[in-house]
């Protein structure tokens, strides 16, 4: 029963703390705020600058055509990333003048359309650096369209035939068996939702883990540990902490999921199915317990939070893999890399959560990963218990790896 009392103590004193409240409600607000602000800036173009290029047009035709095409391309945007100033004339005569403009940074660079562009469709770019390849791709594409249209019109085709030749294609998305086309915000939700599930899992597991580390360090550095251990057993103390702080992480996750569910309903999106919700909690619990063992073990070995945090960084570095690879996982959920990493216990919950949310996993894989996690959790908690038992009372002593190995073997 003592371990429930300890769990309640850890849970209760932290859930009332202002940092938990700020962290829990502040984090989503912060993320929302950042996405709104960046969205605003991306839309308005603030913070970005228009790149100015020159163009020497020896044909006297394609330069102005390109200029018009670009105007049309960026017409419905508040901000045009590319601006081209066209001069008709010969390259040899204009070269030194344009070079000077590039050197004094009025222009990023200048394009040259040769007099024989009709027959030899090539464009030269003279520039300070070659970092603007995304913009030159636009120039390539527009000039290609212009040239094709120009050549087509030389064939004396009717307007109807021309219209049949030049068109745009949109891909419309349908669910299997569905009649109505999917909305574009639904498509975004499909892409983002798996990430959000993984991110929440990540947040919950590591919030719990960090709190656990701090709780162990607090009892160690404040020296309250010895009185505690004369009152309760090691297992009660460790188990109570894991349970209490795990419940805290779970509370946080539950708040987020409920908010997500309500927000999803409001926008008519069904992001969380009962299966996803249930598996979320299964992987949360298993992932949390795995990391709890690691965090407790590390907490029992170090005197200062700084040293402990340095040691834990290595683990955090591994755990960051899914945060870096999430787009790869969403786009290639069944690639050998993703499938392989899904069986690496430290990242299994995160990879599996994405795969489940995308709907690209098998029942067998879910069962196998859960079994693997249970075995890993058993190992992690057992090792942590051994390290905790011996390390927690060794104040002010630098503990070496051979010592730790000896404790574990004992």
């Amino acid at each position: 029963m003592n371990f429930l009392k300890i769990a309640w103590f850890e849970y209760h004193r932290r859930i009332r703390s202002k940092w938990f409240i700020i962290g829990t409600f502040g984090m989503p607000l912060l993320i929302l705020g950042i996405s709104l602000v960046t969205g605003y800036f991306a839309g308005s173009g603030a913070g970005l600058e228009t790149k100015h290029f020159g163009l020497i047009d020896e044909t006297g035709y394609y330069g102005s055509q390109l200029s018009q095409a670009l105007d049309l391309r960026y017409a419905d945007r508040e901000f045009a990333p590319l601006d081209i100033a066209v001069s008709v004339g010969e390259f040899e005569k204009l070269q030194s003048q344009f070079d000077a403009l590039v050197i004094d940074k009025t222009l990023e660079g200048y394009f040259v359309i040769g007099a024989d562009f009709d027959r030899k469709p090539a464009v030269r770019l003279y520039a300070r650096n070659s970092s603007n390849f995304r913009l030159t791709e636009v120039v390539e594409a527009e000039l290609k369209d212009i040239l094709i249209q120009n050549r087509a019109s030389g064939l004396n085709l009717s307007n109807e035939t021309l219209a049949e030749l030049f068109f745009d294609i949109d891909v419309d998305y349908y669910d299997i068996g569905a009649v109505e086309e999917r909305e574009s915000d639904e498509l975004i939700a499909d892409y983002i939702a798996p990430f959000i599930f993984m991110f929440l899992l990540f947040l919950g597991i590591f919030t719990g883990g960090q709190l656990l580390l701090r709780a162990v360090l607090e009892e160690r550095s404040s020296r309250v540990i010895e009185v505690l251990l004369s009152t309760v057993s090691y297992n009660d103390l460790m188990g109570g902490k894991i349970l209490g702080l795990g419940l805290l992480g779970l509370t946080q996750s539950a708040i987020y999921l409920i908010v997500g569910l309500l927000a999803g309903n409001y926008y008519g999106l069904s992001l969380i199915t009962p299966t996803i919700g249930a598996l979320y909690f299964v992987y949360f619990i298993l992932g949390y317990l795995l990391y709890a063992g690691i965090y407790i073990g590390v907490g029992a070995l170090f005197d200062s939070e700084q040293e402990a945090q340095q040691a834990i960084q290595i683990i955090t570095f591994i755990a960051i893999i899914p945060m870096v690879l999430w787009t790869v996982v969403i786009e290639n959920p069944n690639s050998p890399l993703v499938n392989g990493l899904s069986y690496f216990p430290l990242v299994t919950p995160f990879f599996m959560m994405i795969k489940i949310a995308v709907g690209e996993t098998t029942l067998l894989q879910v069962i196998l990963t859960i079994l693997l996690m249970i075995i890993s959790v058993y190992g992690s908690i057992r090792l942590a218990a051994k390290v905790f038992r011996t390390g927690i009372l060794l104040y002010g002593k630098r503990i070496t790896l051979p010592e730790i190995i000896r404790w574990i073997r004992a």
Partner: protein, 294 residues
């Protein structure tokens, strides 16, 4: 009663506690004495079930069964409390872990007695070091434990609170509690304890009733201080005194030579002080430990 029987604990190559046997009786205070690193804290941690002995037995009232937490009050040497919660919450948490009935009232009474009555809502971190010590002591005895183990309980307390602590120790003794008092300060142990156990380098050097130990191991000496320090050069002192240092001559008392020595000295010299010096625990300990090392 607490009994340690042939208890041994080894850390790597070092025998921290080596076949130590001690009996601690109810209604008495037993002093654990020894220099730093002698094995006192390790012995206490084994008593508290925090670490396990490699061999030997620990009995509480004749049973190997460890008593429940509410029967044990432990004030470790390395001690501290949660800093970010209030005094009241701290005591409440531990009382809850020890299944204390009527905890609210007991907490208030104890805080009152230690002069912390109006501060029960203060955070522990806001208390002075001395007040934190008091709080730790309250936490040790709040649940009225049968077995009380105090490791250096006086460190950090001012004289007024040292007195209060002594008073409470006396009360607990009268109430029949079994009390262990560990310290490396011999004079404190001498003043408070009924029994002592001297530990050095993990071994029990000496154990038993304090008065008996003094009788058995101490040399009662006669100390004479002449008015003129130069008198100490006289043949009387030089031939008969066992030791002459810092203006005093010390004579070992053998049989009934006490009054004879005083008479002789009084006739020959002008004397400032004549007194019979009881052996101190410290001397006995140093004597025994040195003997150990030879």
């Amino acid at each position: 009663m607490i009994e340690l029987i042939e208890v041994t604990k080894q850390f790597d190559a070092i025998k921290a506690v080596d076949a130590v046997s001690i009996k601690v009786y109810p209604g008495r205070i037993c002093g654990f004495l020894g220099p730093n690193g002698a094995g006192k804290t390790t012995s206490i941690r084994m008593l508290m079930n925090i670490i396990h002995p490699d061999s030997g037995t620990i009995l509480f009232n004749g049973s190997v069964e460890r008593p429940p937490a509410y029967q044990i009050g432990y004030l470790p040497e390395e001690r501290g409390l949660y800093q970010k919660i209030s005094i009241f919450e701290t005591l409440q948490y531990f009382a809850h872990l020890r299944n204390v009935q009527d905890a609210h009232r007991k907490i208030k009474e104890h805080l009152q007695r230690f002069g912390l009555g109006d501060r029960h809502q203060s955070k522990v971190s806001e208390l002075s070091k001395g007040n934190q010590q008091k709080l730790q002591f309250i936490n040790t005895i709040l649940h009225n434990p049968q077995y009380v183990v105090l490791d250096e309980p006086f460190s950090g307390l001012d004289p007024v609170n040292q007195l209060l602590l002594k008073e409470i120790l006396e009360e607990m003794k009268q109430a029949g509690k079994t009390i262990i008092f560990s310290s490396h300060q011999m004079d404190q142990v001498e003043r408070i304890c009924d029994d002592v156990a001297l530990i050095d380098q993990g071994r029990l050097v000496l154990a038993g009733n304090l008065d008996d130990i003094k009788k058995d191991h101490g040399n009662t000496q006669l100390q004479i201080i002449p008015e003129n320090a130069s008198d100490l050069e006289h043949e009387f002192f030089q031939s008969q005194a066992s030791e002459i240092r810092s203006g005093s001559a010390y004579f070992n008392l053998i049989g009934n030579n006490k009054s004879k020595l005083i008479d002789q000295a009084n006739k020959k010299f002008d004397l400032r002080t004549v007194r019979v010096a009881e052996p101190g625990l410290e001397e006995i300990f140093i004597h025994l430990v040195k003997g150990n090392q030879v």
